[in-house]
């Protein structure tokens, strides 16, 4: 598991062909996810301070340039979601109680879960904002 890639490939292996590049992109999604998580951590930090400090941070977060960043991060986050769901059948046991679980079922369940989580969070935040 911890075995590094063949050093003879150099560090530019991901530019060699499309499937390497897709693997690189899949792994690189974590940089954007980590960045959004750290921004969220700071939002929580500012929420614990006075209104002025919090709003200054929120204005930074909602600055047009940051919005561009969030759009790019959203694209990478969705790429993570799709690629992670699609490889899940390879990581999970293919049989439960002796019966085969079709890969399409596992993938479908995950997208159903995504829809449910997205809808619930969306409605909750909208409800808090509207009341």
């Amino acid at each position: 598991m911890n075995r590094p890639l063949d050093r003879r490939l150099g560090w530019t292996w991901w530019t060699r062909n499309g499937s390497y590049f897709r693997i690189f992109l899949r792994e690189a999604t974590s940089a954007f996810i980590l960045a959004e998580i750290v921004l969220f951590m700071l939002l929580i930090h500012k929420a614990g301070q006075d209104a002025e400090t919090y709003l200054a941070y929120r204005d930074f977060l909602w600055h047009p340039l940051m919005v561009v960043f969030h759009l790019v991060a959203l694209a990478f986050a969705l790429w993570h979601t799709i690629s992670f769901f699609l490889i899940a059948p390879n990581a999970l046991p293919s049989q439960v109680a002796g019966r085969r679980i079709p890969a399409a079922f596992i993938v479908g369940q995950q997208f159903a879960g995504l829809a449910a989580v997205t809808l619930l969070l969306f409605l909750w935040v909208a409800w808090v904002g509207a009341t």
Partner: protein, 118 residues
């Protein structure tokens, strides 16, 4: 290879964080950072000062946010660690691991502290 490795532990945390990131991060970016600036008032109000404190008011919400943030941080740092190794970063492997998992631990602990202070 040695008989014992911490890899399985990190891998299971990585997988849990991966699922949570897949489920929560897209909608989180959407509601917190895009719908408000694009002019949807409900989401602008939800992330006004009072709104965000209402969102984080309930203890269960804070506990869930802390756990989700911690696991996603472990996931992202684990992946970045492997990516750094695979890109042949000219640094000792232990240093890369230390920075990656130390960073994840720092995010988890700081988020817990910040949540307690809201």
């Amino acid at each position: 290879m040695s008989g014992r490795s911490h890899e399985p532990l990190f891998w299971s945390l990585f997988a849990a964080g991966g699922v949570l990131a897949a489920l929560f991060v897209p909608v989180f970016i959407l509601v917190s950072s895009l719908l408000g600036p694009f002019g949807w008032d409900w989401f602008a109000d939800a992330f006004a000062y009072e709104g965000v404190r209402d969102l984080l008011e309930h203890g269960l919400v804070r506990a869930a946010v802390g756990a989700v943030v911690a696991l996603i941080a472990v996931h992202a740092c684990h992946r970045l660690r492997h990516l750094a190794v695979d890109l042949h970063a000219p640094l000792p492997g232990t240093l890369i691991s230390l920075v990656a998992y130390g960073g994840a631990a720092a995010v988890a602990v700081l988020t817990a502290v910040f949540l307690a202070l809201v």
